[in-house]
């Protein structure tokens, strides 16, 4: 990537004051994403993946303290006025959340919610907005879009609601779409449909897209690159192929191994990761994963590994004892 990336996250940290002391939800994260690229951010609950996306959107809780810089399309978002941010969030950066029931307004019709966005931000008149709304609903695969405009969110299934949320997100042709666990609340068959829809629209519109998920399966076939988070930090970041084929970080390896696979015979014990993530208000001196890591040594407990590049500059990991692969010996 020679040209400036669309999004660049530089040394971002998010601190939340809690009754138990300061909670560092995101810790020195560096990431960048080019126009039209897709990034998967993978991690378990509480790893900071959602907070990171909120930091990008400048939608952090009031008490949260953000440090570092978020550059989007040449602008430092932390320095933008509220009005500029509002415009940016409407037109250039869009979000799809996990639960479409809570992200849609239950007392407004689908039509009102879609048309409101279009009229406000694209300054379309009512009839144009209506026409565009129907097109958008059709584009996201909603049957009988004309009739849907008059319906309320509760009249639609979870999958249909998520389609509506995607239609609203796409309505202003954003440059970046952030999908935060977009399919976690949905059934497998519906999940596949929604992921296909996101992939199709991403390609068609040449949007950059960030998919946040706890499921490595979701990002495997549908992203250009993947970032794995653990305890607020990026622990591995690589092109998707390299991440799955040549993973260096023991956490990534353990996470992948712990997923039950269809090929495995029934009653085969799963390689579980023992223990659980550390208390985020009591950060460890060394590597956060070290208490659960089978490769950990005393160095891992006393010193925090930095995110460094391996043999290829776009594959970064934070580990003193990276997994060795024949192809990358000496890295």
């Amino acid at each position: 990537m020679t040209e400036a990336p669309l999004l660049s996250v530089e040394g971002v940290a998010v601190d939340l004051p809690t009754a138990r002391g300061n909670l560092r939800a995101v810790d020195s994260v560096d990431l960048s994403l080019g126009a039209g690229r897709t990034l998967g951010i993978v991690g378990e609950s509480g790893c900071g993946k959602t907070m990171l996306s909120r930091a990008i959107l400048q939608l952090l809780p009031k008490k949260a303290k953000l440090s570092g810089r978020v550059m989007f399309d040449g602008q430092d978002l932390a320095r933008c006025s509220r009005e500029t941010l509002r415009k940016l969030r409407a037109r250039s950066i869009a979000v799809v959340f996990q639960d479409p029931m809570t992200s849609l307004n239950p007392v407004l019709t689908i039509g009102t919610q879609l048309m409101e966005t279009l009229q406000e931000h694209l300054e379309l008149d009512a009839s144009e907005a209506r026409k565009r709304s129907v097109e958008l609903l059709a584009a996201v695969g909603i049957p009988a879009p004309e009739q849907r405009l008059a319906q309320y969110p509760h009249q639609l299934s979870g999958g249909m609601r998520q389609r509506v949320a995607i239609a609203i997100a796409l309505s202003c042709e954003p440059k970046l779409l952030i999908a935060d666990e977009p399919t976690t609340a949905l059934d497998v068959t519906i999940q596949a449909q929604i992921l296909d829809l996101l992939a199709r629209e991403q390609k068609r519109r040449h949007m950059a897209m960030i998919i946040i998920t706890h499921d490595l399966g979701v990002v495997a076939g549908r992203t250009d690159e993947v970032a794995v988070m653990y305890a607020g930090r990026l622990v591995e970041h690589a092109p998707t192929q390299a991440l799955f084929k040549q993973m260096r970080m023991p956490y990534t390896e353990a996470l992948l191994a712990a997923i039950p696979k269809l090929e495995t015979a029934p009653h085969t014990p799963l390689p579980a990761i023992s223990g659980r993530p550390p208390d985020p208000t009591r950060p460890l001196k060394g590597c956060s994963f070290s208490p659960r890591c089978r490769y950990a040594t005393s160095r891992c407990e006393s010193e925090k590994p930095q995110l460094v590049a391996s043999s290829s500059p776009d594959h970064r990991y934070a580990c003193f004892h990276p997994i060795k692969h024949d192809a990358s010996v000496g890295a």
Partner: protein, 322 residues
Amino acid sequence: MIRQGVTSQLLRVENLVVEYTVGNKIVHAVSGITLEIARGETLGLVGESGCGKSTLGRAVVQLRQAVSGRVLFDGEDLTAMRGEALRKMRRRVQLIFQDPIASLNPRRRIGDIVAEPLVIAGVSDPKERQDRVSEVLNAVGLDPALVMGRLPHEFSGGQCQRICIARALVLNPEFVICDEPVSALDVSIRAQILNLLEEMKARFGLTLLFIAHDLAVVKAVSDRVAVMYLGRICEVGPSEQLFAKPAHPYTALLIEAIPVPDPDIKPAESVAVGEPPSPIAPPSGCRFRTRCPRADQRCASEVPELRPVGTGQYVACHHPLT
């Protein structure tokens, strides 16, 4: 219909129908299901949300009353039992639910929560109760001395699920219904709990009905799997065989839709068409026909019965894949 060695059978559900009303409409949650579970076996039950799998689980323990049909547990019909007899029988059957935190009373201490079934069962000696509680807490990997006096909010989701499992095991049940026991848990914790359930099953000689929507999770623990769609069983068979050679188009669709953590396997473009119809007005004939690529006239008019398609494998389809 689904035959097993009769001697080893622990649970038999016969033509079970469960319906309930929402407003003035009838939800056809379970529409004539027959299933058997052998002693010591794990039967996985999969299906999408709203297919009736949880209702079936609840109807087995009589938490939902059946409209018709029978639930034979160890030869006795639970649907005909009332009062004390039912309460006694229920001690032999326990449940574990999806949300471990919501399943625990936030104001009670772990020791009391786990001891509660013993109190209800009439174990009056506190020492005996305490010993038993310590034993099961140890079994699920928690240190009784450290956890008994604490409250549920002090524990993570995975630990709460361990506590729920301990509570389910404290009465030494024979049969445990696990209703989505790991779907609220993170990947790394999920594997721990699945391994624990397997361990407990072996240690206490349990028979399990394992309800989940995730096929890979179900396969990991089940001897046999039943696939449910809109209140009916589509297919049932030995796990390995069912996943290797699904006979029902719906089973195949579910397998196809699982996202595989391998970038070389490109997700098949929109294998899944449409969404399940409402159980308030299920389609005539085969209920899957509105989403099925193989459906024809016959599927609309005639309900397919379960019939054998291989050793121990049964399918309810007019146009099976094998």
